[in-house]
Amino acid sequence: MKYIVAIIQPDRMNDVLERLEEKEIHLVTVTSVMGRGRQKGVSTVYRSHKEAGSLLRKMKIEVAVNDEYVNPTIDAIVEGGRTGSVGDGKIFILDLKECVRIRTGETGAIAIG
């Protein structure tokens, strides 16, 4: 099992969720985050006081999947999330040791879906 964390552009979220859905990856958790990357942040001005503004709004999508779903998940995120310009983000894949469904107490591969 893998725990996949993806950072994407906020306005790509709907597309990513749709693509995941198409590949039958329905279960996800989304968080609103700020990211600093290669993409230059927009600097802001408050009463002439300039702020560097290196951080930009991003979305973090977390998906826990069984191993056979890792590639479809990556594909879905890349397809839905790519705009081709700097700032599109990253996908991080971590090992998932165990998974428990709170409602039933089931564990492992069956609990994940």
């Binding site: 306005d11 927009v42 408050y46």
Partner: protein, 452 residues
Amino acid sequence: MKIRNLCWGLFVIALIVAGLVVLAAGEHSQASKEIAVLKSIDSGDTAWMLISAALVMFMTPGLAFFYGGLVRRKNVLSVLMQCMFILCLVTVQWILFGYSLSFGPTINGIIGDLSFAGLLGVGMAPSAVYATTVPHCLFMIYQAMFAVITPALIIGAFAERIRFVPFCIFTLLWSTIVYDPIVHWLWADKGILGVSGGMGALDFAGGIVVHINAGMASLAAALFLGKRIGYPDKISPPHNLPFAVLGAGMLWFGWFGFNAGSALSSGGLAANAFVVTHIAGAVAGLTWGVLDIIYNNRSTVLGLITGAVAGLAAITPAAGFVTPLGAIVIGIGAGVICYMSVTFAKAKFGYDDSLDAFGVHGISGIWGTLAVGLFASKFVNESGGEGLLYGGIELFFDQLSAIVITMVYSFVLSYILFWIVDKIFVLRVTEHSERVGLDLTEHREAAYTTLE
């Protein structure tokens, strides 16, 4: 870009300086005239007009929040900015020449001359023709607030995708070329469409002048600019509905100044306008609430306030001419018609009127103005007219003509203005800017901090 902005800065400054000269010239003559007639001022009427002007001013921040709550988080400041900037910009336009074009001595009923430019002769003494029991300058500033909120309504149509500087230029031109003449036609002494020497169309507080006018410009904006990226299915829902409710509350509150203030005095007519305004807003809100239950199985707060605003807009032209009975019918009509327009018509035609500036204000303005031709009664206002219901046929056709004329004029001219400003300055933001949000790209500000 830099250069264009500079140009524009210079333009504004030039305008101001020009105005100053005019003003300086007029000062003395004006001031001396005033003292003579000061006694005809009624302190009660003046008190009511002072607070009414303040109330109408308060509607612009109200509108800012009504609209601002409905856009996406990344664009809220751009909407607030546009509203507040109009408050500043159009005020200056108004005192320099807008008021004179609108209410100055008429040139063939088409437009005012420049006699009042720079407020020349617009002092503490009452005007001989407008609001004769309050200082002339008070009538002027009261009207200034109308000149401000009308272009602000259009923001609802092009929200989330217009560049700021071109927007300012468009607004300045639109106020001068579209708003000022239409005001003149309807409300100025001897204006071609109005009652005092014109065709005879009635528009108590701005159904034509404000709502139809801004509504048609909104339609032009929506058609000219095209849809937002992702419209209609991938646009996030309103980012802060409580703000929209706050804005609606402020609008409703201010609307009493807007409609009851248009009586230009403190008495029975103002009271009637106040009453029918409140009734129409309430009835339309209720109507929308019921329609929401019927079609969506739930009453929504956005629906309720949208309905209320539609009702308030619809009663605007009629507030001084109809009875509470009329107000109820107008309210129900506004609720039903705007509900249909926003729900079905917009979906069908597929234009992107972001916040339904046309669908709510335009449509309810048309309905309300027509309704004057149906329900107006001389019992309410002797200087009004008789609607169809009371046997008056003429008025109905006058209303119809005035509606059609202003719809066409406003739509065509607005479209042309958009076209011209777009050719010279480019109206629409880049795709990147639309994605990132106008707050950051157009104003270098973020509305809320997230990491703190």
